[in-house]
Symmetry: C2
Subunit: 230 residues, 2 copies
DNA sequence: GTCTATATGACGATAGAC
DNA sequence: GTCTATCGTCATATAGAC
């Protein structure tokens, strides 16, 4: 018996390797991961790691899966809570965006792995990518929910709203990580733009009936709806 | 005599190396550049390249400088032309954004090098970075010019408007390159969001006097100006 | 001045001993 | 499971031919 003792021990070793690998990536850059350096810090020889991971790409894949799962959990928790308590879309979306971007800035290694493509030749496996798919789906449902509540306009597919939303949020993350990587969420020059950009987004996608002054007849064209109509 | 013949020949060799290095990066990934592979394709031995570049990082630096100079020239040309001919900010900004993003999507290697941080340990030299500084400065001047024309609100520093502008444009570029790197500008799912997002941006930063219906009293808060006022 | 030849040390990865 | 030994490739450096 105790058939899973060995397995649990093995899982612990795997987690330990991934933790150290994350540290190395934080210091040397995501693409600068060296399994030799990981082994050195663990006090073992490089070939020993191959008992747990078939290749360096397998380590990247496991890290990708861990990161995707973490960010999915963070966003799922906050979006669920916010949809239950918030009373207007601006408040709701700012809280979701804050949680998402805060996680991204505080986990820059995961963010680079998830949102950029820094490792030549590495593509996440379907299993590792699944939490990212879940995240997209739950975000789409969140916008569809807001449409049903009359919070945002319903004449645009939720997928399209999500596309613009991800451009905004990932734009903040990318600019912050690329141009001021040492700044935290609180002190970041680009994260500071979050409330304003959320307000911009909400104003643009506000439901026409929610405001006495609609912008349907604006000559400049207010909403992104005309995106595909050129 | 003919003192610069040798020098011109040398410059041609440098350009040739950079061209081939760009090809290799396109195939193997930016961080996957191998000088040995470059030498192989040029029909020389790897050490020969060190007569032209002191290190691999020097090659990255030269590529960074070439890319920054290209994109600066593209944006400078279009923004100058647009400020001379356009009659409203939506039209002007859409043309500038289109030129910028089109260049970025059609030069994904340069874009990754310029806008992400894919190469561990590489930081562009001040000389290579200078065109990027020029680009920021000329973009700031463009927004200041639009403010003086009364096209966009003047109660927000041009630097802050530019910050939000770069978040938008770099968000489109990052999402497109990371999630659909094989798509071109015309067929891209995220580049398709450009006109709508520019309209959103212009509506948010529209000068208060340009529209009969201002949004000063909006309860949701329309403009990004409240960004730093939380 | 630019090349070839050669050397060093680190890397990812595999085979096989214990 | 972890080790030693080993392979091939890489960036990089130096010495010396032409």
């Amino acid at each position: 018996m105790i058939p899973d003792r060995r397995q649990r021990r093995r899982q612990e070793s795997i987690e330990e390797i991934l933790d150290v690998a994350l540290e190395v990536m934080a210091e040397q850059g995501v693409a600068g991961l060296s399994l030799g350096e990981v082994a050195r810090r663990l006090g073992v020889r490089p070939p020993s790691l191959y008992g747990y991971f078939a290749s360096k790409h397998a380590v990247y894949d496991a890290e990708f899966g861990r990161g995707a799962q973490q960010v999915q959990a963070v966003v799922a928790e906050v979006s669920e809570r916010v949809l239950a308590t918030a009373t207007d879309p601006g408040e709701a979306l700012e809280q979701v965006a804050t949680a998402f971007i805060e996680w991204a800035i505080e986990n820059p290694v995961y963010s680079q792995l998830l949102f950029w493509r820094p490792v030549p030749g590495f593509e996440p496996s379907p299993a590792a990518y699944q939490p990212a798919v879940d995240l997209i789906e739950l975000s789409t449902r969140m916008f569809a929910d807001m449409q049903e509540r009359g919070w945002i306009r319903a004449d645009v597919p939720a997928e399209e709203i999500l596309r613009d939303w991800t451009i905004l949020t990932s734009g903040i993350i990318s600019q912050q990580l690329a141009n001021a990587p040492t700044d935290g969420f609180q002190t970041g020059r680009f994260t500071a733009a979050l409330p304003g950009l959320v307000a911009m987004f909400v104003a643009s996608y506000a439901a026409a009936t929610s405001s006495p002054k609609t912008n349907h007849n604006s000559t400049t064209g207010k909403g992104p709806r005309n995106a595909d109509q050129r």
